[in-house]
Amino acid sequence: MSFNPASFINRSVSAIPPSGIRKFFDIAAEMKDAISLGVGEPDFVTPWHIRNEGIYSLEKGKTHYTSNAGLKELRLAVASYLKRRFNLNYDGLSQVLITVGGSEAIDLFLRTVLNPGDEVLIPEPSFVCYKPITALAGGVPVTIKTKAENKFKLTPQELKKAITPKTKVLVLPYPSNPTGGIMEKADLEALVPVIKEANLMVISDEIYGELTYGKKHISIASLEGMAERTVLVSGFSKAYAMTGWRLGYACGHPDIIKAMTKVHQYAIMSAPTTAQYAAVSALEKGDNDIEYMCSEYNKRRNLIVSRFNAMGLECFEPEGAFYAFPSIKATGLSSEEFVEKLLYSKKVAVVPGNAFGESGEGFIRCSYAYSVENISRALDRIEEFLNDNKLLK
């Protein structure tokens, strides 16, 4: 019998559509002189003291596995860091699990708690991984469309409307990729009674928690009675420009963390050892690095937002992460049309908002994790694009 590889691929995997983000970048990558505002990772290199600690650990021959849950020293450092920066109380030994990036933590959590048919609420527009991971774990993703006029915050009314008897988990992805929206304390407090009444668990993806501008990030886990029903996911990629080290963590109730550790130990064994040693230095000596990078991002944020508004693409003020999410509705084009025309005529790559869910239609995501020169040049070209095509009256 002839071999048909497609017939071997699991139905859930086959059903996952390719990411809408990649499509245009593969085209842009082949283009000469293309400028991108597409990349979702810091342009900074990991601060030297952190890299040096990784090198030092290699010199000392620290090349073995760590314990499954992660280096004890690092778990304790995560707990004390979360206390210091976000007033969260976790026991480093029983409530912290070190993972391969925040992404692994999201996958572990959903695989740990979901039974077939359980529903997971996912506010959109949001990071592209929640839906496929939910589906792969046997769950049913249920999206909630957040609105630009609410600064893409999740409201208790929207949450309540989406809850069914099958709802088990709420994903809370703030500060938000792609919108830059944040949830303030009052916004979170409004959700708490709804979450408790429906007896949900929350997975709070706070990977951009250190990158807020003006307002300090608040974790839902810091609210009364929420620590136990929240699994906080974060990592080192965005705060310390450590994307390539692949290191993150999950914090939560000891029973949940223990169960997640079980899945982690069979799939991954343990997170990379070199990265874990480097991360200790990040947590203990990296506060200044965060301040520095944050203030640089802030200047670029001010620049990109003011220019979008000036050229007539309405852009609400993103208060976190490193993305601007201007509306292109006034041009009459769909997100994909806009992005494609812009790429072919002006060689600027941005991401269509609908790649992050239907409610992102009419927007584009522009990362400002780029040099000011790069941002200004890209914005000049976008402005030319609007003028050449008379897209705005």
């Binding site: 983000i21 593969d26 592209v128 000011v372 790069n374």
Partner: protein, 166 residues
């Protein structure tokens, strides 16, 4: 009352990149173009900003073979005028590109540039060593520059981030 933090932020932005337009600078710091212009004007007037120049990696400039030396100078400070009077006599020379009063085993650190080793040797022996107040000199030639004023000169910066679905 001037906003010192804003002034410092603008100084830092310009120090990193003086090609920023007034519009960019204003937007980046959340102020009006007029306010940004006024701040820069003030900084120029009070001598905080002395000029605007490109950061050059001179090793890449083929036609020049400039030689740089760092000279440790021990001097006898003069009555009533301390070191300042001597400094004045040293920094007037165009060959001197930097001059600092130091703590430790010598007094002045003098950076001198010339077209070749001989130029610099002559400058030291004829102009610096002969000054009354100078007790001794020690000349160190720069062999290779790695980092200058915060800029690493030996590696090219390029965006090597790869395509990622996030």
């Amino acid at each position: 009352m001037k906003n010192q933090k804003l002034y410092n932020d603008i100084i830092n932005s310009l120090h990193k990149n003086c090609k920023l337009s007034l519009e960019e600078l204003a937007a980046m710091h959340g102020i009006s173009v007029a306010a940004a212009a006024e701040i820069i004007d003030n900084l120029e007037k009070d001598g905080t900003i002395l000029g605007y120049g490109a950061i050059i990696n001179w090793d890449k400039v083929n036609s020049t073979n400039r030689v740089t030396a760092y000279i440790e100078l021990k001097v006898t400070p003069q009555r009533n005028q301390g070191f300042d009077r001597i400094a004045e006599r040293i920094y007037q020379y165009p060959e001197v590109t930097a001059l600092n009063l130091m703590s430790g085993s010598y007094d002045f650190g003098v950076t001198v540039e010339g077209d070749n080793l001989k130029d610099i040797s002559l400058f030291v022996s004829q102009h610096l060593a002969t000054m009354d107040a100078v007790i001794s000199t020690a000349t160190h030639f720069v062999l290779k520059r790695y980092k200058n004023d915060g800029n690493i000169l030996t590696v090219q910066k390029e965006d090597d981030r790869e395509v990622m679905s996030l």
